[in-house]
């Protein structure tokens, strides 16, 4: 069981590393929002699954389930609100500069 817990923690840390590097390196707010939304949800839920596996059925795991449900509801809403604000404020999406091939 401890190997499963360690595996889920390592998975969460890997997702967090990739998401934070994306937020740091991507060129405009929309792509950064993409990296942030996916990777924050997967990081937090991987850590919560590791906690549930570690704890079994107790007071702690019930509260962890409540927090996971709340986070699962509010993460996409926050991403949508930020993206809508950027779009209404007129942030221009990034395009590849002319003459540069991918």
């Amino acid at each position: 069981m401890i190997w499963a817990v360690g595996g889920f923690l390592a998975l969460g840390i890997l997702f967090g590393l990739v998401g934070n590097l994306g937020v740091l390196r991507f060129p405009d707010p929309y792509t950064r929002l993409h990296a942030s939304a996916k990777c924050s949800t997967t990081t937090v839920l991987s850590v919560f699954i590791a906690g549930l596996l570690l704890e079994g059925f107790s007071v702690l795991s019930g509260r962890i389930l409540v927090i996971a449900l709340f986070f699962l509801l509010t993460g996409p809403v926050t991403a949508h609100i930020i993206g809508r604000r950027a779009w209404k404020r007129g942030v221009v999406p990034w395009r590849r500069p002319k003459g540069r091939q991918p």
Binding site: L60, I64, I82
Partner: protein
């Protein structure tokens, strides 16, 4: 392997990762970039709080984590809708 050592390592790794998005909060050119960084920092601090609760076996940390999640959501919503609003938001 000890469970507490594993949780300690996970807390340290998450805290080290969070620095990267805190850098985005500081240098972000637009306000939306700062909001994205704040959202990511809040979610990783939530994960760190849950890991600390599991390490100390205390349910009080989980209450703190739930209130932190709710306040982070409402705070980011309020900043996104009412601070520095050019148009109708």
């Amino acid at each position: 392997m000890d469970v507490r050592l594993l949780l300690d390592l996970a807390v340290y790794a998450l805290a080290a990762i969070t620095v990267l998005s805190a850098v985005r909060v500081v240098i972000g050119p637009t306000p939306e970039d700062r909001l994205i960084g704040l959202n990511l920092v809040a979610s990783q601090v939530l994960a760190i709080l849950v890991l600390l609760a599991l390490r100390q076996k205390q349910a009080v940390y989980l209450d703190v984590a739930l209130v932190y999640a709710i306040l982070g959501y409402i705070g980011i919503l309020a900043i996104a809708r009412h601070v520095d609003k050019g148009e109708q938001g």
